[in-house]
């Protein structure tokens, strides 16, 4: 009943099992790949079939990012021979992942090329975002990251099992809304999520060791990937950014971060990488935080805190505008103070802010940049970019789709 095939969609076969703990050790497929970066430790044997699946994913990735092209084009781009590409493409066509599009139009010497491309209409992905305040959001996403349809449900503070049921229902509604085969389900959850998709701890949802991945997979017999919301979000940004090092700061009801270093997501020893919301900022105190400490990043920067401060301003005061700017600037400065050591230690080239643009994309952003420049060594971080997300509201949804794409096809 269950197949071992991790890569194939194999929807009609019933229960594709997204196996997690394989023995490989690469960057691609981290989708298995091979980089001889520098000093590393072989993590496990490599068999021919691993090489094959790597190359398979490489072809898929090439088509996915570069668009329709001939087999010969793919061969040139990947370095594999035309023969091997033809062979791999034949497999991919048989699996329904790739389609032939007919001959190339433009006039060139030689035999006209047969264009092939990923069949971008062949599959949909269900993406779920559990990080919004008071509601669960979901969408059907196509292979290009386009939102096909949406659904959401207020959870009204539901926790524990009730919240799991709400998530399940949301997924079911989304699955019912599409007749296209679904490649898998991706979920971005707040809290600490381990690589097996167990939500180790998500206080807001009252979850402790909830095996969300296993639950959803058993329920829907589809590949399911679950990860922390910010870690998921940074995947979406990574797709559009093509930077190998990337930090995304997600500012909402709480503050969290997602990190990609050397092209690979950072999970952390306790699976809590990116949890910077309760790091203390500066050495001059600060507002009391829900966690009991004073001056946590979240106490300075979380959206409710910011809006509360702004709402407290007298809108009719003569200096209302500048008072507003001061508040946002100070928040931005605090963010810069926390980020400076991280940017310095990792020599990051790109930092992305995600959250309400009306709050973040102005004095706050400017102050963060200034603070970062003033507190790190300009020489080393000359080309640091701090920018707003390009994905607006849907970072987590799209990131969830990328996670599935990457996990199932080795494509991002």
């Amino acid at each position: 009943m269950t197949t071992e095939d991790q890569r194939g969609p194999d929807i009609e076969a019933g229960t594709p099992t997204p196996t997690s703990g394989d023995v490989l050790t690469v960057p691609f497929v981290d989708a298995p790949i091979f980089t001889r970066p520098r000093a590393l430790r072989p993590r496990g044997k490599v068999l021919p079939e691993h090489a094959r699946s790597h190359n398979r994913a490489l072809v898929l990735q090439t088509l996915y990012t570069s668009g329709a092209q001939s087999r010969a084009d793919v061969a040139r781009e990947t370095g594999l021979t035309r023969v091997t590409i033809s062979d791999l493409v034949a497999d991919l066509i048989a699996e329904g992942l790739v389609v032939e599009l007919g001959q190339r139009e433009d006039a060139r010497p030689g035999k006209p090329a047969t264009l092939i491309d990923v069949d971008r209409a062949a599959f949909h992905i269900v993406g779920i975002d559990l990080s919004e305040h008071q509601r669960f959001v979901g969408a059907v996403v196509d292979l290009d990251g386009g939102i096909v349809s949406r659904a959401e449900v207020a959870h009204d503070g539901a926790t524990g099992e009730a919240a799991v049921v709400l998530v399940t229902d949301l997924v079911r509604r989304l699955l019912a809304s599409t007749t296209t085969p679904v490649l898998g389900i991706g979920v971005g959850s707040p809290g600490v999520v381990d690589p097996l998709g167990v939500v180790r701890s998500a206080p807001n949802l009252g979850w402790t060791d909830v095996a969300l991945q296993a639950r959803l997979q058993a329920e829907f017999a589809l590949p399911v990937h679950v990860a922390n919301d910010a870690n998921v979000a940074v995947l979406a940004e990574h797709g559009s950014s093509h930077q190998d090092d990337l930090l995304l700061v997600k500012i909402g009801h709480g503050v969290g971060a997602g990190l990609i270093i050397g092209g690979r997501p950072v999970i952390g020893g306790g699976f809590a990488a990116g949890e910077i919301g309760h790091v203390v900022v500066g050495t001059d105190g600060g507002p009391r935080c829900a966690c009991g400490k004073y001056g946590c990043l979240e106490a300075w920067l979380a959206v409710p805190r910011l809006t509360a401060q702004l709402d407290a301003l007298d809108p009719d005061a003569p200096d209302a505008a500048s008072a507003r700017d001061d508040i946002l600037r100070e928040a931005g400065r605090r963010l810069g103070i926390v980020l400076a050591p991280v940017v310095g230690a990792l020599n990051l080239s790109e930092v992305v802010l995600s959250g309400p643009a009306e709050l973040l994309d102005g004095p706050l952003h400017a102050a963060t940049v200034d603070t970062l420049r003033m507190r790190t060594m300009a020489e080393h971080n000359r080309d640091l970019r701090l920018r707003m997300t390009e994905q607006a509201e849907d970072v987590v949804l799209r990131g969830a789709a990328v996670m599935v794409l990457s996990g199932q096809l080795g494509v991002s």
Copy 2:
């Protein structure tokens, strides 16, 4: 004349070329490996020979870390078959990297096993540390990391080409001191070093874009690896620690850090990862730094700064001891303040301090731990360990050896 063989030592053949830009993409040999971590992008094709060299390194790694054992033992540990192991081992024996040690002594049923092991006496490695104050230090290191012989030279502030010549002479002396074949030369340099071993910038040595790796390789016709001193040091610590995430803070004349995340060294977009010496600490000013800013980590923590402060104390004052402790504690607190965001963001499980133990291993260490605990979320960083290096003075030398070992044999 030159061979393409990246793995074999091939000393007598003349000029082994440690090619840098191969097409692989893995975590092992990152030395080529294959981890299907999570969402990654295939970086290049994988050929059967890549798989072979991965497995070859795997065997070597297994023998290196687990010690003498039979081919069958290796087969069980790696998951490869006895046949394949025999085949790989035959290659390794032919290359002189592995030796047969005769039959196993202990009495067990069955045919007695023939023990094999890495020939730990077959090769030496030359390690160079350019990060010490006013002198260059070098050593001949055996494959187990033992120091065979040492040499050093005062550079008396020599810079530029003169400094390069001193390094070259130091290497020459060390090479002359051993008759054992040398696997390669590893150099830990201060400053920013790119993956090709070009020292992009090392102010103390007056170096800008010095192609040290190329120079030494041309001179000695041996594989050469050059990297930043702290990044090299963390390799040594990684070997003994067996943690996949590791931060080493090297406190000497300056302050720098080396990072390993997910088992792989972090280089940084501008090759300046770990350069945290000039990150500003706290929001309450601080001593003026050589770089012009106030309150840089280095201005708080560099050894000259600490000793200057301690020397200024009146040794006969009644509270001399507690005044000393206060100074060290404050320095430790500052370190904790800078590390907190990094530890939080990366969810690090282990941080190592390297430097003069009489300064670091006491109130300073304790204050850093306390500060880290107070400024991060205890729940996520419960099992964080902060410890002193186990390698004492020789971290960089041994790390340089590990770098060569890893680069040439895929072993660490």
